[in-house]
């Protein structure tokens, strides 16, 4: 069986098999997504990339213009949202403010046919599992951000969904709570036996929580893979920025990658054809005078465009022959007398670059 986009379907009888197309007047989402039971997939992308639209399409809150949506071999796209075996954790949780935590969690089982007592018993069990047994009688406004998040997860899981959707599950939390809740959520997702899809713009959340990242920009998938693969082989500027790498695209000939615009970079990998070159800002060394004794073959004349503190280091944005960012210690920055507009020489050792086919 072949679908519109030419890929063979029906192979996945378990898990998620989706090709989501949503047409708006100014925006088109076109994202293919597959996942096996037990997978945690993160849709990662900048604001406005269409991640939330994709999530809403999976939940049935936004209709598909075309494409397909199957879960465990069953077509979902023709199913009304209330019949889909899908649980959603919304960004600001949307706990019903007039119901207690217990009744919020019991809402789903109750709607799906459980008796009141049965639904409440199930809900109590879920709250207990989330460590919230003491807050069962609390209204949402009496819960802390972290507690509300866990109630929202419990509420979504209580319907025993085959697909769990989480929209920016940690975005509403402050930094400290986030750390703790992220660890808990990771545990719950690891225990979850069906497919989980998580939407986030935070690379850390994505990398900690997900087994696989799908990077979405402008409504399209630009890259997907394991977190470690994507962190090492970014394919767009957005991803490179997220994982903190300098990224260039060019054409490789042996150990040299000639950039589309600008100089060549010498690498240790031997490639030919279109290629990416990436190196971390920490691999860059800066000099005020042209270094004479340096063995680095990658030497570019640049100018400091901006400086900012980055942890305990200084991050310098450079323009010139090769625009790049460089990290250096505060002491080094002071010794070099760096300031915006200062001319510098930047070098990178070939061994610290990483080239891969584009």
């Amino acid at each position: 069986m072949t679908d519109l986009d030419g890929t063979t379907t029906g192979v996945l009888t378990e898990g998620l098999d989706a090709h989501l197309v949503v047409d708006r007047s100014t925006f088109r989402l076109d994202v293919a997504l597959t996942a096996a039971p037990g997978d945690v997939v993160a849709l990662l992308g900048p604001n406005g990339a269409g991640k939330t639209t994709a999530l809403r399409a999976l939940a049935g809150l936004t209709p598909l213009t075309s494409g397909r949506l199957r879960l465990d071999g069953t077509r979902l796209d023709t199913m009304p949202p209330e019949s889909r075996p899908v649980g959603v954790v919304f960004q600001d949780y949307l706990l019903f403010p007039h119901l207690t935590a217990l009744d919020n969690v019991a809402f789903g089982p109750r709607c799906r046919g459980a008796s009141k007592a049965e639904a409440r018993a199930q809900a109590a069990e879920w709250l207990d599992r989330m460590g919230l047994a003491d807050h069962a009688g609390a209204k949402p406004r009496r819960l802390s951000g972290g507690q509300a998040q866990r109630v929202a997860v419990a509420r979504a899981l209580a319907t025993r969904p085959r697909l769990l959707l989480l929209d920016e599950p940690l975005a509403a939390l402050d930094a400290r709570t986030r750390l703790e809740v992220r660890a808990q959520l990771r545990r719950h997702l690891a225990e979850f036996e069906a497919v989980a899809v998580l939407v986030t713009h935070d690379p850390l959340d994505a990398m900690v929580l997900a087994d696989r990242l799908v990077v979405v920009e402008h409504g399209h998938v630009v890259q997907e893979g394991t977190p470690s693969h994507i962190a090492r082989h970014p394919r767009t500027d957005y991803i490179a920025r997220l994982v903190g790498l300098n990224l260039y695209r060019g054409r490789a000939e042996g150990h040299t990658v000639r950039l589309d615009a600008g100089p060549a970079i010498t690498t240790t990998e031997e490639l030919s054809g279109p290629a990416f070159v990436a190196f971390p800002p920490g691999a860059v060394t800066l000099y005020r005078e042209r270094p004479t004794g340096s063995s680095a073959r990658n030497l570019w004349r640049c100018e400091v465009a901006g400086l900012e503190t980055h942890g305990d280091q200084i991050r310098a944005d450079l323009t010139g022959e090769l625009p790049l960012t460089a990290d250096l210690t505060t002491v080094a920055a002071a010794e070099l007398d760096l300031h915006p507009g200062a001319p510098v020489w930047a070098t990178v050792k070939a061994t610290q670059t990483h080239a891969y086919p584009a």
Binding site: L94, P97, G108, T159
Partner: protein
Amino acid sequence: MTGSDTLESRPRRDRHRGRTRPVPIPLLVPALVGLAFLLLPLIALLVRAPWRSLPEQLTSAEVWEALRLSLLCAMAATVLSLVVGVPLAWLLARTRFPGRGFVRALVTLPLVLPPVVGGVALLLAFGRNGVIGQWLDSWFGITLPFTTTGVVLAETFVAMPFLVISVEGTLRAADPRYEEAATTLGASRFTAFRRVTLPLIAPGVAAGAVLAWARALGEFGATITFAGNFPGRTQTMPLAVYLALQNDPAAAIALSLVLLAVSIAVLAALRDRWMTAS
């Protein structure tokens, strides 16, 4: 600076103290005239009230009959408004259909329509020879005009728009994503409305109901046109007041005082919602 003052309120008050800004006379005088105009009639009502014979007036059978009928009909009109008005408000706030703006305009029309015109229109619709009334009469033997049911209909016609507007405004202010959350949990649209939306908008519904009830209680024009003025059957308090004014002004004042007391009670019940507009 005293310790009890917050940092935020203090400079503001100082600025006001620095230069006392007088209220301009062209604004102050009309404002006071307006206030006096609203208050004086009420004061007059209290001044001229037959306080000595009041207990006697208020315990007369006609007064009780009229008050009982008024409360009953206003209550029935409110319930009727709730039953059809809340769904109508939901439809206007939560769905899109062609001509929705026009429908909303129609719903609000009775707000601005002279009630007498409403009464005439009701007669033409539900009167014995009315567009619908003739069928009601010949098929079911139901006659609406000049009955207690007619009073309820007339009051509903005039009062329901208040409820619809109030509930629709509350619905628009409420976050529709709660309904979506309920949907993802397996709730049908109706279940989501019943178990999530309705409890969330309950305060707005209550306020709209009180407003509609107050409007129904005071309804005169549509009622007298459509239902007439039969003591014990269609003579509500406002009609009784009007009639009493012709032959027994003291009774009219006494009846008016009762309605005034009811109005003040309603205002007091809603003070949190409307009196604290700032």
